[in-house]
Symmetry: C2
Subunit: 446 residues, 2 copies
């Protein structure tokens, strides 16, 4: 069994171009009496189903002083329940030829399996069981906490790049919990105990807080019937927990975070801007930011790559992306790896010049058209994976969007104009709202 916490990656921007209407019209959306949402996505290509449960709580919902509890619970969900001892569920999935995984992010925690469609009901019964029947004794909780601490040690505390990333995000978010790492601060993980886990589990692992996504060769009504039999048997618990998150104050000062470490062999540069997410943006604004990020640094034809890697050769790599899928204001990342002998200061100035072009100069129509086509096409290609398809809908719903938002996304991307991209650059590529990160070899901190 692999229980992993996933770092956020490129925002998932679903959509379908040509035959969008037909396919999306087939997505069904239900709500069980106990409040659980169900989304069924037809995908008839193979006799396989993807089954995901998304809980609308992630690390940004960790109680103050209890950072890491969302991720810790993800680990604990692989322990036994009152009905099934530890390992039974995972072993069964493996025996039936299936796959499973789980991930915790800032805004959600999700559990995933893929299996032959005839086993769907079995999965649903097991997943519904662990929604409420987890056994959380000290014998289970305490050793797993050590596993998480070791995970943190390996992934973060031994990795200068991960340490810098933590410091950059902490500097970007002065007050909002996105500034706290998903895995939690070490000293707070150390303090998590059985009571914390129980309290958290009771509060968040409820049908009202869950979204069930089933994609595959299944009929919606059939899945609904199965869901009622399994998840539907869970009594309603309470109103869905509120997301009481602190908000950022206005940002007026640029922050440069420099980390130098003897383990660093390759310096690197990043610039992170605080920007609206698909959920917090004005209409069309997130799509413009998505396009802007792609034009700045999406692939080898992007402005950053062409200017820094191909032309000036100041960098050996460069890119940008927009983490649009977030409940609250989020991040647009720009990054580059300097060529040998190029200082990060010099690289920074060159990056600044590229960003300024988007603010000051007209957007190239051809580049814009190419970017939009590519973004929409990427989304279509990604749907080839049943898991990606399921993930798009789950992520959208778990971050406060609707199925309609997902369905209309390609259309809204097509509508992005050059003026929209320029406005997004002017409004949001504001250095005062950004943090720059310098990763440096030892004895070389800026």
């Amino acid at each position: 069994m692999s229980s992993s916490f996933s770092s956020p990656t490129v925002s998932l921007t679903p959509g379908e171009a040509g035959d969008a209407a037909r396919s999306s019209a087939n997505v069904s959306h239900f709500k069980l009496d106990n409040g659980l949402e169900l989304v069924v996505i037809p995908d008839m290509r193979t006799p396989v189903v993807t089954h995901m449960v998304w809980y609308k709580n992630g690390s940004a919902d960790d109680p103050v002083g209890k950072s890491g509890i969302a991720h810790f619970l993800e680990h604990l969900m692989f322990k036994g329940t009152t009905n099934h001892p530890q390992g039974e569920f995972s072993n069964l999935v493996a025996e039936l030829g299936g796959q499973e995984n789980a991930f915790t992010s800032y805004d959600y925690t999700a559990y995933f399996q893929r299996i032959g469609k005839e086993h769907l009901k079995t999965l649903m019964a097991f997943e519904a069981d662990r929604m409420r029947n987890l056994v959380l004794t000290d014998e289970v909780v305490t050793p797993e906490r050590d596993v998480v601490l070791e995970e943190r040690r390996m992934r973060t505390d031994n990795d200068p790049a991960a340490q810098l990333d933590e410091a950059v995000q902490a500097a970007l978010f002065a007050h909002h919990p996105y500034g706290t790492p998903i895995i939690g601060w070490n000293h707070e993980i150390e303090s998590l105990d059985r009571n914390d886990a129980l309290h958290y589990y009771d509060r968040f692992y409820t049908p009202e807080n869950a979204i069930l996504i089933v994609a595959g060769d299944v009929e919606a009504q059939e899945v609904l019937a199965l869901a009622r039999e399994t998840y539907g048997a869970i009594p309603a618990c309470a109103e869905p927990p509120r997301r009481n998150r602190t908000k950022e104050p206005p940002h007026r000062a640029h922050r440069l975070v420099s980390l130098s470490d003897e383990k660093v062999e390759q310096p690197s540069h990043e610039r992170v801007f605080l920007v609206p997410s698909y959920r917090t943006a004005q209409p069309g604004e997130a799509e413009a930011l998505e396009t802007l990020a792609y034009m700045i640094g999406g692939g080898a034809t992007s402005a950053l790559y062409e200017t820094l890697v191909v032309e000036s050769k100041l960098a050996v790599g460069a890119g940008a992306y927009y983490l649009g899928s977030a409940v609250d204001d989020t991040r647009l990342w720009v990054y580059a790896t300097p060529a040998p002998g190029v200082s990060l200061e010099r690289l920074d100035a060159a990056i600044e010049d590229v960003l300024k072009r988007f603010i000051e100069q007209p957007i190239d129509a051809e580049h814009l058209a190419r970017a939009k086509t590519r973004l929409v096409a990427d989304a279509i290609y990604a749907q080839d994976s049943q898991a990606s398809l399921a993930r798009w809908y789950g992520e959208a719903l778990a971050t406060g969007l609707t199925i309609e938002d997902v369905v209309a996304w390609p259309e809204r991307m097509e509508a992005v104009t050059a003026a929209d991209v320029t406005a997004a650059a002017k409004n949001w590529l504001d250095k005062r709202r950004s943090v720059t990160g310098f990763l440096l070899p030892a004895e070389d901190a800026a």
Copy 2:
């Protein structure tokens, strides 16, 4: 009436050199049955008393999402009670020829009056009254919130240096509430209402959470009797509220915060190190930090001033201080104002060189002796003010120290060695645990 929120200034380091023992032996310390602490400090020079009540809660105890509530309560404490309408207390103090003030800091909130000693009992009765009988209606609370918002607008939002200070502290404290301004974030002040005020008042304004300091031409037993009559009539409320503060994760990356604004005419530089406080330090360590800060930047004979202002003329001003009086890990500040034409980068490098000297080179014995003498002498001079005397004890007790700590301070300062100062520099002038702030004219952000 002047209700002011006081920015933290140089740490108050009480103590007496020569005849310390005699004077300090006369300080009396009592605890009433309801939990209220009483400290009586004899000062027979004039027939005047200083009366202070210290509550062991400051802005760092503001509930999450309710920043500014401690300071807001300080304002509201000047409104009426069930026994006395608004203005009666303040008017009386003025009519009797007295003075009053109040201040909110990170770790405490305090109320102060100075008056002829014959009026002490009157003050005590009024101050005890408002500890529990404040009238907090919407009519009182809502307009005062606008007053606080206006205060914030004037003091912070219109002042680039104050904005930079907020951003520097937010960057220094990634997780601990010292990163939140005392006055609160604007959007959270806006949300404070009567319920918040009532809940906060009930929780923190209790005899168990209060320290009464009386300095002046008074006998301890007489003050005790008066305190029993007035404060002693308040029923015990509960255990003192716990200070549930989040702790900082390890700091591994230097942060440079740059703010540029058209209102800036004079650029400035600051460097803030995260260091232990008198309460969190190992024995002797805070005294060494106090000495180190003074040697770096205390006055015109300090290393920073001599090097940057007198010798190299890179700066027109420079200094350093240690904010030792704090419940949790605190700040050592180094700052400088560049001479015309000197960039902050150049100044930063020069400051860095001065700091490195303390780490790498032996401490000059004469400079050390001079610093210690001066620090202890300053403390003695400051005792000439009855209010300062009262404030030392109040601040010490409110931040978790004891009367013995206050009394023994000059002795512990005398014991600081060159090796202690070097160790403090090596341990705590760690750039990774620091934030640098650049205040710049418009269009000149680093």
